[in-house]
């Protein structure tokens, strides 16, 4: 395995770049970061929709979230892969379809966390703000969300690691991320699948494990700082 790593580390890291698109582990991380960052605003919007006083808004959001959470991510990726080009008119690269699917999937999950954060907030907070004459949206923005989102932070750190793992499904639609790159290496070598895929598993393990440890200590520090508040 060590020889494979020595010979192919560059390809596993960045794919075919610069002769081809950027790929490998770097692409995996880019997808994970973009996916997570983009899913947070969508999650917040979905959560606000779910607590909306307008019943049809709340119901549609609930249906959407439950449907997304009831289907496999792979199914969602295929939806994205086949339907997005039809909806937008241009043919999208695998990167964008995978990113779109990841964002939808993550935001559905995160919106539940945000929603429970909103619903856990004492009613008095909203009453105090409304009693001062502040409108619904400003109350949402300045009073409800800052407090509800505080609980989202720990979930987001574990979501980041999950997202890194989920990017591996890009392999199925030929997105040039780490698993796909490893498969390419395997197709070149042909006689060492055990080592290649063993190495792949090890790389993911090291990345995800250290990431979750690092994030946990970061999260602990943030918690301490805010508790002082």
């Amino acid at each position: 395995m060590l020889e494979i790593l020595q010979d192919f580390w560059l390809q596993l890291l960045i794919g075919q770049y610069p002769k081809g698109p950027l790929g490998g582990l770097v692409m995996t991380l880019i997808l994970a970061v973009c996916g997570l960052l983009a899913s947070l605003p969508v999650a917040v919007l979905l959560a606000i929709a779910r607590v909306s006083p307008y019943r049809w808004v709340a119901r549609s959001a609930a249906v959407f979230v439950n449907c997304v959470r009831g289907m496999p991510l792979l199914m969602l990726i295929f939806w994205s892969y086949f339907v997005l080009p039809k909806l937008t008119g241009f043919s999208l690269s695998g990167f964008w379809t995978l990113l779109a699917a990841l964002v939808i999937y993550e935001s559905a999950y995160l919106s539940e966390v945000v929603r429970s954060g909103i619903e856990a907030l004492p009613r008095g907070q909203i009453e105090a703000s409304r009693s001062l004459g502040v409108g619904y949206w400003t109350t949402m923005r300045k009073v409800v969300l800052p407090q509800a989102l505080f609980n989202v932070l720990p979930s987001m750190t574990s979501q980041f690691v999950s997202t890194i793992k989920e990017t591996s499904l890009g392999y199925v639609i030929s997105v040039n991320e780490l698993t796909f790159a490893a498969n390419q290496v395997n197709n070149m070598l042909l006689t060492k699948p055990l080592q290649v895929f063993g190495l792949l598993a090890l790389i993911y393990f090291i990345v995800c494990f250290s990431m979750s440890r690092a994030l946990r200590s970061l999260e602990w520090r943030v918690r301490r700082a805010r508790a002082m508040v």
Binding site: P72, M75, F78, V83, S168, L169, N183, P193, Y204, F209
Partner: protein, 229 residues
């Protein structure tokens, strides 16, 4: 816009059947393995603890797809030639996917059961041993049943995830629901109809699992509720 033909629907239902079979097999295997892991973990011998902890951390940090690829492409290399030939002749895809899914899920289920266990006061264990029960008897009749009851909600969501994760098996050619949907879509280009049908089937499966879960939860709640009612 007419719907799918009967033949196509039938084909999707066959795929659904495979999905359900895979789910059932994996759930049973994973659960059994998880219980075993939990029992091993409680043994007061450091290597046992390390083994289980490493097992769990490994399977939680490596993507499921990568695990499946490893078992399908990599692992058979370790088998002697005749065994490998036999395996490939006898539905290797399904078996190896089942192994990968079971091992992966077992890690999560073990953690769920362990947190259920941690919720049981140590005094339960002491009381049982004080009555003269052996360690194994105590685990079997007192501790594990209670842990399972507390763990029902997380286990239900774990079952849901496993059900959806069976879709990953299509990457190595297991003809389950997602595979069939993709196959029919590529023949007929009826994207919305095929994927819509597949999504509905997944949603139905999910709702069924959630329904069973909530019934189980209510039933077991009543049994243990006598203590604090």
């Amino acid at each position: 816009m007419s719907f799918l033909t009967n033949a196509q629907l039938l084909s999707m239902l066959e795929g659904m059947l495979t999905t359900v079979q895979l789910f059932a097999i994996c759930w049973v295997m994973a659960f059994t393995l998880a219980v075993l892991l939990v029992v091993i973990r409680t043994i007061d011998f450091a290597p046992c603890r390390w083994f289980v902890d490493t097992y769990v951390e490994f399977h939680r940090n490596v993507p499921l797809l990568v695990q499946v690829l490893f078992w399908y492409f990599g692992m058979p290399e370790l088998l002697p030639e005749p065994v490998r030939m036999w395996l490939y002749a006898h539905n290797a895809e399904m078996s190896l996917a089942a192994i990968a899914l079971s091992l992966g899920s077992a890690a999560y289920i073990a953690e769920d059961i362990r947190s259920g266990l941690r919720a049981i006061p140590a005094t339960q264990f002491e009381a049982s041993r004080a009555l003269g029960s052996s360690f194994l008897q105590t685990m079997r009749f007192v501790i594990v049943p209670q842990a399972i009851r507390t763990s029902i909600p997380p286990l239900v969501s774990r079952a849901l995830l496993l059900f959806k994760n069976t879709s990953v098996a299509m990457a190595i050619g297991v003809v389950e629901l997602t595979y069939r949907a993709r196959e029919i879509e590529s023949e007929t280009y009826r994207t919305y109809a095929t994927f819509g049908a597949a999504t509905i089937m997944y949603l139905l499966g999910s709702f069924l699992i959630m329904f069973v879960g909530s019934r189980l939860y209510k039933r077991y709640r009543i049994n243990t509720g006598a203590g604090h009612a």
